[in-house]
């Protein structure tokens, strides 16, 4: 037995040795032509600020212009490492975390050399050395997990979709739920949508399913059930959810949502509400309380203040008199939302008077998707010229405003946004130092997850969620939808979730 163990250990050691030898540490080119510009790497990690626990920032040079790429990474302790295979720079996780550890609170210096692809005039490509850039490593970690829905950016029909969770320190992505199991027959299948967690934890969470067997899959203290929040007095079941940070109540909007398809507008799709209200779902009593049900105005996207004392939400402003009552397909560009809040009394589950928080309409804008920072000082939201579905609006950006005097006086999050592409669905990490958003900035069609470091009212340059293969997001034909931070993974399996549809 002992002999076998020895052999096994030896084999494992050889295997590990072999695996470690697979890492490519190329030599820096002996001669190269200096180029006074930053390398055109994808994803763009030049001069970004990253958390001290992020997965390796693998990147690549464009394969149509370059044949090879070498990167030399220098840490403040004087260590240098080189990486590169083909046009890709893929850093092993163990190396990367050593690099991060040595650079926390400081910066990593990255020098990149690119060998140009052969052309008709040049038989052999030449090596170019680009201006070095830095990656700043913040001391504040990012929440270890995020979850998102992976979906084709489709119109009406839907195909295979899933809610997945990603461990941000590594490249591990696992499924929380997919609709294949419940969707063997599309006429009986489901579309999965909005998911939400209570206070970044996963023991209390929910997601919706629509169509056949539709309802809300609710996890209450780790126990899975399916509930139907539709009542005779609500216009739909719950749609956009927000768990109260401490109590077992969930604020939700109820929506009668429609889509329109543009014939020429580059926005392509318009998602709008014919009607929307807000409800409060009390898990203990399975009761639905109407929070607001103004038949002439639209209330949507509830979110709680971190102390749970206020419910923030968006509400449309009345249309000009001449447009009132007209088909929304002709008035949608005039529908604008402001941000409001109401105080909440947890023992009685009652709400106070409505207060205007942000008047977007007076600036001919529309504000949606409010999110309060964990310290309660800042409010993030998405803003576009009109409507409620900014992820489809090319002019949509994320804005931040102070909520109290403790916020920094000069707030600037412009580095988070892209120019001319939709940026939407902002959220805060649990320590309030990382902002996450969904953005179509890479091609205007496929949403990707971006992070930005936030400190003292300033957001640093946003960077794309790293992938093991830096080319992944070039080919990946799914959008990342509703990215949410979590401090722990969802532990319930796909199978366990599926059982609530068959039981």
């Amino acid at each position: 037995m002992k002999k076998h163990l020895h052999i096994l250990t030896l084999l494992l050691a050889v295997a590990l040795l072999f695996m470690s030898s697979c890492t490519n540490h190329p030599d820096v080119p002996s001669s190269s032509k200096a180029v006074k510009s930053l390398p055109d790497i994808f994803p763009d990690y030049c001069d970004v600020t990253v958390p001290c626990n992020i997965a390796p920032l693998n990147f690549m040079l464009p394969s149509d212009r370059y044949a090879a790429c070498v990167a030399r990474i220098s840490t403040p302790d004087g260590q240098q490492r080189t990486y590169g295979q083909g046009v890709k720079v893929q850093i092993p996780e163990s190396d990367w975390h050593t690099i991060l550890h040595a650079s926390t609170g400081k910066s990593i210096k990255v020098e990149v050399w690119g060998k140009t692809a052969k052309s008709e005039s040049e038989q052999n490509g030449e090596w170019l050395s680009f201006s070095p850039f830095e990656i700043h490593v913040a001391e504040e970690p990012i929440d270890e997990y995020i979850s998102y829905r992976l979906i084709e950016p489709s119109y009406v029909a839907w195909d295979y979709m899933e809610i997945a969770q990603r461990h941000l320190t590594t490249f591990e992505e696992t499924q929380i739920f997919n609709n294949e199991i419940t969707c063997v027959d599309k006429t009986k299948g489901q579309c999965i949508n909005c998911h939400s967690y209570q206070n970044y934890k996963t023991d209390n969470m929910l997601f919706h399913v629509r169509l056949s067997n539709g309802g809300t899959v609710l996890v209450n203290d780790g126990k899975v059930s399916k509930v139907n929040m539709k009542r005779d007095y609500t216009i739909s079941s719950g749609v956009y959810p927000a768990w109260h940070p401490t109590a077992k109540v969930i604020a939700l909007s109820t929506n009668k949502t429609r889509q329109g398809f543009h014939t020429a507008d580059p926005n392509k799709i318009e998602v709008y509400d014919m009607a929307s209200d807000m409800i409060l779902y009390d898990i203990a009593t399975d009761s639905v309380i109407v929070v607001s049900a103004d038949t002439t105005l639209l209330e949507v996207y509830p979110t709680w203040s971190p102390d749970g004392r206020y419910l923030y939400y968006c509400k449309s402003v009345p249309l000009p008199e001449e447009l009132a009552g007209k088909d929304i397909r002709s008035t949608y560009q005039k529908v604008q939302y402001n941000l409001y809040r109401r105080s909440f009394d947890e023992p009685t589950l009652s709400f106070g008077e409505e207060e205007l928080v942000y008047d977007a309409a007076s600036q001919d804008k529309s504000a949606t998707l409010p999110r309060i920072s964990p310290d309660g000082h800042y409010l993030l939201f998405a803003q576009g010229r009109y409507g409620c579905f900014h992820i489809r609006h090319l002019d949509a950006d994320i804005l931040c405003m102070a909520l109290d005097d403790e916020a920094a006086p000069d707030i600037d999050i412009s580095k988070l946004n892209s120019e001319g592409f939709p940026d939407s669905y902002p959220s805060w990490s649990s320590n309030g130092h990382w902002i996450m958003c969904a953005s179509r900035r890479d091609d205007s069609n496929y949403c990707r997850v971006y992070f930005s470091y936030f400190k003292d009212g300033k957001a640093e340059k946003a960077f794309m969620m790293p992938q093991e293969d830096p080319e992944h997001h070039t080919f990946f034909l799914k959008s990342y939808n509703r990215p949410e931070f979590m401090v722990e993974p969802v532990r319930i399996s796909v199978d366990e979730f599926s059982k609530v549809f068959t039981d």
């Binding site: 489709s154 119109y155 543009h262 020429a264 796909v494």
Partner: protein
């Protein structure tokens, strides 16, 4: 005798090739257009990681050749002949030789369904190959150990139809203890896997990718598979009688009888109406406008897709308003069928939108068509069209994604390589005969597309560019079909 049998197999194979090449070619095109076979390790892994994966992969690999119907027909002919030959080798059939064709004929019947996937046929072939290989092994421990390994391996490669392999190993009396052992192994496999794979238990029992409709039980495939075992049992049971004298005559008779009966079944179950619809779709896809006119002049189409394609071809030749009523019409649905979420109607409808210059609408329709593919596959045809619509719209990076994927295909890579340099090259696009024309025809002013504003849509399109002859013809046809004289005179006055 051996030569005679070879001739019979050849005759069968040729019959299959001729049938699919001549009577069913567009069913093969239909199959090809609802998949995207990529020469990419990630794609291959996604397929082979599930039970039945190798059969599925081989099926998809072969299906890409269905783009060329005769090549597809030949592949089917060869594979069905292989099924017959492998069935023949299982036992001595004697007078019952004709029965060795039954499984292959049942697979032929299975393939008449346009949603039957070719991976199912490969699953049977792999199962028969495994049985044939095992019959060549001597009895003993090596064979027994290999058998235990083969059961899960074959299940993973071919899927649950491999039960036939297990049954074929079972009936010999000396193998009874093994029989129970293997039975337990085979029965436990799907149950165990259902805990670990994101696949429902019934699919693990009946097959994941034998049929495009996940809820359809592929009964003909299973009949073909199980018939191998049942017929072998019969042949073995009637061994003495079957191997009596006059074997040549009896062999020929049994072959003729089975061939005639099964061929009659095949003919009876041939869906020529669907073939006709698919033919119109195929011709529209490849913009064979002259061939469409020849076809409609030979036989006027009486199905909605046929009428849609007929009107498009007439419009492409500038004949639509003048010759509209010489052909069958289907009201305004004959111009623009409403977009259904099914497998056949969206793509020809999208072709009309595309040719008219309604690029966003065409893009949406193609996207929806792809999303409607029931087994979650992607479509090379849809990818190609989405690359084109995004290119015309100036969404070059999105177009690049589709083109880069098409570069990994066998038959679309050349086109993708030719199209990639166009991205971002405004001058080249404006000079391109198709993309330049469609850019000029596109809507200048935005409004919401709706199924119920066809006249308004056409009018806006025409007013965006009064040189858009296709929009003009469609608008006139719309007025003629609805009796809208006011718009008719208004439009003709503008044109004059």
């Amino acid at each position: 005798m051996k030569d005679l049998r070879f001739l019979c197999t050849l005759l069968f194979g040729v019959a299959v090739v001729l049938f699919f090449g001549m009577a069913y070619p567009h069913h093969l095109h239909y199959q090809e257009q609802y998949q995207l076979f990529l020469f990419d390790l990630g794609y291959v892994w996604e397929i082979v990681k599930l039970p039945g994966g190798l059969a599925d992969l081989l099926g998809r690999f072969c299906t890409q050749f269905f783009l060329f119907a005769w090549v597809g027909a030949t592949i089917i002919g060869i594979l069905l002949s292989v099924v017959q030959l492998l069935t023949l080798r299982l036992t001595d059939w004697g007078r019952l030789y004709g029965l060795s064709y039954v499984p292959a004929f049942l697979l032929w019947l299975f393939l008449l369904d346009e949603n039957a996937l070719f991976g199912g046929v490969w699953a049977v072939v792999l199962t028969l190959l495994a049985s044939w290989g095992f019959d060549k092994l001597r009895c003993g421990w090596t064979r027994r150990i290999l058998l235990v390994i083969a059961i899960p391996l074959l299940y993973w490669m071919a899927g649950p139809v491999c039960i036939v392999f297990f049954l074929l190993q079972a009936p010999r009396p000396q193998r009874i203890p093994w029989y129970y052992g293997l039975f337990i192994l085979l029965a436990v496999l799907p149950v165990l896997l259902s805990f670990y794979l994101p696949v429902s238990a019934d699919k693990l029992w009946f097959g994941i990718h034998y049929h495009r409709y996940p809820t359809v039980f592929p009964s003909l495939l299973w009949s073909a598979s199980l018939s191998i075992f049942v017929l072998t049992l019969i042949a073995r049971g009637l061994h003495h009688w079957a191997n009596a004298s006059h074997r040549i005559v009896a062999t020929l008779c049994s072959f003729g009888l089975v061939f005639a009966i099964m061929l009659a079944f095949v003919w009876k179950n041939t869906n020529s109406k669907a073939e006709k619809v698919m033919q119109y779709d195929f011709m529209a896809r490849h913009q064979q406008w002259n061939r469409i006119l020849e076809t409609i002049n030979a036989e006027k189409p009486n199905n909605p897709i046929g009428v849609t394609v007929q009107n498009l071809a007439l419009a492409m030749h500038g004949l639509l308003p003048d010759h509209l009523f010489e052909y069958n019409q289907n009201g305004i649905s004959g111009l623009f069928p409403s977009v259904e979420r099914d497998a056949t109607s969206p793509l020809p409808t999208a072709e009309v939108f595309y040719q008219l210059g309604m690029i966003n609408v065409a893009q949406r329709t193609v996207f929806e068509a792809q999303e409607a593919i029931l087994d979650f596959q992607k479509s090379a045809r849809c990818y190609k069209r989405l690359a084109q619509t995004n290119l015309i719209n100036g969404d070059y990076e999105v177009s690049r994604k589709y083109l880069t994927a098409l570069q990994k295909t066998l038959f679309y890579s050349d086109w993708a390589n030719e199209t990639l340099p166009l991205l971002g090259d405004e001058d080249a696009i404006s000079k391109h005969p198709e993309y330049g024309r469609l850019r000029q025809m596109a809507y200048k002013e935005d409004f919401y597309f709706s199924d119920h504003t066809t006249c308004q849509m056409l009018q806006n399109l025409f007013l965006s560019n009064t040189d858009n002859r296709l929009a003009y013809d469609y608008l006139l046809a719309y007025c003629l079909l609805t009796g809208d004289r006011e718009t008719y005179y208004y439009v003709t006055s503008i044109k004059q």
